[in-house]
């Protein structure tokens, strides 16, 4: 086989796995929300309704792709792709284990955030091109919310980086091997990252850009068929990425405490990583099943008046702590 073909096949396999991941996440959301709400979730298709989301994907693929008359056609078709591609690309730098990482970048964290900040562009394009007032309102909100929270999100991710002394996500995990998970020294940063992550990935209680009780379906109102499917999948893909980032930065990545990393090499590490990530996603869904939604002005107020100063303050505290007590955290350099 030519090396090119192998590369292509690898990429396709990765994309396929990621899509499957999204489908599994949707199934999980239905089941978890169902159980939280005293329901069963899907039950009919396959054991415990497992094939329901696959069937829905097939349905979305075969549905009529209705395009409203007055949309901006180029943007309307482009927008789901602009939303979807970053959500796949962001997987690249996430280390599933010591070895399994698509691109072992020294600036892995920065790369992930940079890729993800392309998403509002796509969402805005979707809302703008749809020629629908609800979509426009939703995408406007999305822009306001994502732009406001890029900064606190990055700032909240900095304390682990400071302690680990590297922006390489693999190095951050390895730094947590030797000492404690960074959630213990950086608990406030973890909470800030959780809030900012929920906002960035449009999760309840901050799902303002598609607030269904206010904006019908927000930026996705006019989308149908697989274009809607892409928007929907990318949302779940985002959730996965933020959960994975949280696991990587704060919860020790693929490692377990008091377990020799050598034991986990091979198949163990990615499984631990996935389990942790899915647990974090479960918390996201739990929050989604419980909380009401905040209002847009309140959301922005939380960001600028609380989260931004608080993250900055915590960075200062972390920095001072690292300098005054070198070696207080095992991974400190």
């Amino acid at each position: 086989m030519s090396p090119l073909l192998i590369v292509v096949l690898r990429v396709l396999a990765a994309v396929g796995l990621l899509l499957l991941n999204g489908v599994v996440l949707i199934y999980m959301l239905r089941k978890v929300l169902g159980r939280l709400h005293l329901r069963l979730g899907p039950t009919e298709l396959g054991p415990a309704g497992m094939f329901q989301t696959m069937a829905d994907v097939v349905k979305l693929l075969t549905k009529e792709d209705a395009t409203p008359g007055s949309v901006d056609r180029v943007l309307y078709f482009l927008a789901p792709a602009i939303v979807f591609v970053p959500s796949l690309a962001a997987y690249a730098a996430i280390p599933f284990s010591n070895k399994i990482v698509a691109a072992d970048l020294d600036m892995g964290l920065l790369f992930t955030f940079a890729i993800l900040s392309l998403m509002p562009l796509g969402i805005f394009a979707a809302g703008w091109a749809s020629y629908n007032k609800w979509s426009l309102l939703g995408s406007m909100r999305s822009i306001a919310q994502q732009v406001s929270y890029e900064v606190p999100l990055l700032l909240a991710a900095l304390p682990p980086v400071m302690i680990a002394g590297s922006m390489n996500l693999g190095d951050i995990v390895r730094a947590q091997h030797g000492s404690v998970w960074f959630i213990i020294p950086c608990l406030p940063a973890f909470v800030f990252f959780l809030i900012a992550g929920l906002i960035e990935s449009n999760q309840t209680p901050f799902d303002l850009s598609e607030a269904e009780s206010e904006l019908v379906a927000g930026f996705a109102t006019e989308y149908s068929s697989m274009k809607f499917g892409l928007l929907f999948l990318s949302e779940f893909s985002n959730v996965f990425i933020f959960a994975a980032l949280m696991v990587t930065l704060f919860l020790g990545g693929w490692s377990l405490p008091f377990v020799d990393p050598g034991l986990l090499a091979g198949i163990g590490a990615p499984i631990i990583f996935l389990v942790k990530t899915y647990l974090v996603i479960f918390v996201f869904m739990w929050i989604r099943g419980t909380l009401p939604r905040v209002r847009i002005d309140q959301l922005l107020a939380i960001g600028w008046k609380f989260l931004l100063p608080a993250t900055l303050l915590w960075i200062v505290i972390t920095g001072v702590a690292i300098k005054t007590g070198q070696g207080l955290f095992g991974g400190g350099s």
């Binding site: 159980r35 709400h37 329901r39 419980t290």
Partner: protein, 157 residues
């Protein structure tokens, strides 16, 4: 412990507690609930022990129906015996209020318990509960215990 966010955490605790209570779903086509005795669904005709309908074609139900969906077509024979050509019941327009059952002086109809009433054709919602049958002879006994105000039509103002 009244700090900001305690309500949110408490809410999370409550949803988790509810989750642990387990689902209350009744998986409908697979399992069904028992209807209470008085549940009112589609109209049914009662029969005696021989399987003969009790309807005497007195038309009380037809007059009582607020939606005019009961239509009893009767031919009266020479000996004043009644013959029901068709006992028409328009299920699609029935709101199952039970007024016809209350009006029936012979306790010949009841609200059934069959609630799976969806039909593929609108025409199937037109029921003929009796076609071409002689009406029962009215037995002039005390009116059957209808669940409603069951005095005979009095002569008030």
């Amino acid at each position: 412990m009244k700090f900001f966010g305690s309500g949110i955490l408490n809410g999370l605790r409550i949803t988790m507690r509810n989750m642990l209570r387990g689902p209350i779903t009744v998986r409908y086509p697979h399992e069904k609930l028992v209807l209470p005795e008085r549940a009112r669904w589609a109209l049914e005709l009662k029969t005696d022990e021989n399987g003969a309908h009790l309807c005497t074609a007195c038309m009380a139900c037809e007059r009582a129906c607020p939606d005019f969906i009961i239509r009893i077509e009767v031919t009266t024979g020479e000996d004043r015996s009644k013959h029901i050509d068709r006992w028409g019941y328009e299920l699609g327009a029935c709101m199952m209020c039970g007024l016809c059952v209350e009006a029936c002086p012979f306790d010949a109809i009841k609200m059934g318990h069959d609630y799976e009433l969806a039909r593929r054709n609108v025409a199937d919602l037109e029921y003929s509960l009796i076609t071409d049958e002689p009406a029962a002879k009215p037995k002039r006994k005390a009116p059957a215990p209808a669940p409603a105000a069951d005095t005979e039509e009095a002569s008030d103002g």
